[in-house]
Amino acid sequence: MAEDDFDQGEAVTNVADRLAAEALIVDVDGFEGPLDLLLTLSRTQKVDLRKISVLQLAQQYLAFVERAKALRLELAADYLVMAAWLAFLKSRLLLPPDPTEDGPSGEELAAHLAFQLERLQAMRDCAARLMGRDRLGRDFFARGIPEDVMRLRKVQYTATLLELMQGYARIRTRDEFRPYVMDRDAIFTMEQALERLRGLIGFAGTWTDISSYLPDAFTTDPGRRRSATASTFAASLELVKEGRVELRQAETFAPIELRRKD
């Protein structure tokens, strides 16, 4: 404990004390709040915390705040709140109790403050003892080459009957709701025509009417015939483009004839 730093609480007379007091002020950032500051100030009383004079402590604190103000130091709000409370406590301790006033007496408040200080000091001592203990990784050590426990994870799958039935229901209803697809059996597609023509043009050495290339199933029904004619014509154009056949037509609406190109 820094006993010689604070010889007297209030009347700072000699230079050393004053320097010490100012060092305290300059150090205000180093305090962990007003309670910490009070605890530090209380050390100047050099008594057991249980026998501390709270009145004297309050006066010390208020003097500290005054000096801080004189030095134009910014004090955090909680320090000022504590100052206001201590000023109130001081007046309660000094004035005779007013019987009409409710609330705790000055002595009760002072006792509580003393308790808080003692408790804080006790916790500080505990913290120091704790940190002074033998520590893992510093004084005693764990196994240096730990062998990891191999975890064999076994996964167990579960399902309920309801899930099973819902799953089945889902599949079956999917059928009922398949997207609408146009029925296309009356259509002879260009792909079909192309495929058909490709197989036949090998034999088309002479000019032949392309209508003769229509598949049998598409020659009687007018609708089917129309579809097949259109696709076969389109397919023949494709084959011309590929350079595999030639097309000719004598006049408008005359039959279109096709011949293999060699």
């Binding site: 975890r151 399902a159 099973l164 089945y168 229901a169 079956r172 709701f177």
Partner: protein, 220 residues
């Protein structure tokens, strides 16, 4: 340090008792992240110690214990006894929900058994991944049935007694039919149009080229 020459005789007096040296070696071998040579240990120990002798004592002490002192190259290390290796592994059981693909496949097998893989795919509208079938086989909820008397003689799947026990069924015939499912409100839960429930399950990721009827994948 200055009287290096007299070290030998002097340190003989100073050296801690062998029991203490054994403790030191024990602690070092325990805590070290790597095997230590007697030289390594000697450097850490007080003057005049004989780590080699301490190791011999320590080794003897651990004979038959759960831990032993082993020589690793020209260094020493402590290791658990090899016969207790099984204690270093631990089995944990994790419960997981069966995937939707697996549930659907299982449902189809239950409702349509005996059923071939191609038939399952036809009903589901997507190919069935090998993993899904393997998983169900492994869980012993399905097994192979008779081969079908169709070209290729594909294998079929049927559900097992294990399956019936799991789902509390006397037989697969006890499964409610479509009508009953509908009556029970189970068919009301339709997928909204456009969500394409058959896509996006990602189970076929590794078998995208599978076409219906890939029984050959099954042979093994």
């Amino acid at each position: 340090m200055s009287e290096e020459t007299e070290k030998k005789e002097e340190s003989l007096f100073d050296a801690p008792p062998m029991a203490e040296q054994e403790r030191m070696v024990e602690a070092m071998l325990f805590a070290s992240a790597e095997p230590l040579s007697t030289r390594d240990m000697g450097e850490r120990m007080p003057h005049g110690c004989d780590p080699a002798e301490a190791v011999v004592h320590l080794r003897k002490r651990y004979e038959g214990r759960g831990v032993r002192v082993a020589k690793v190259g020209d260094a020493w290390a402590m290791r658990t006894a090899p016969d207790l290796g099984y204690l270093m592994s631990r089995e944990t059981v994790e419960t997981r929900k069966l995937s939707r693909a697996a549930i659907e496949t299982l449902a189809i097998i239950a409702y349509h058994q005996p059923v071939t893989r191609a038939e399952i795919e036809e009903i589901r509208g997507v190919s069935v991944s090998r993993g899904t079938v393997d998983q169900l086989l492994e869980m012993e909820w399905i097994r192979f049935g008779r081969r079908k008397m169709t070209p290729g003689r594909p294998v079929t799947f049927v559900v097992t007694q294990e399956f019936l026990d799991q789902f509390g069924l006397e037989s697969a015939r006890d499964l409610p039919g479509l009508k009953e499912l509908r009556a029970a409100g189970l068919l009301e839960n339709r997928p909204p149009p456009g969500t394409m429930p058959q896509l996006g399950e990602g189970e076929e990721a590794d078998e995208s080229e599978t076409a219906p009827g890939q029984n050959e994948l099954f042979e093994d």
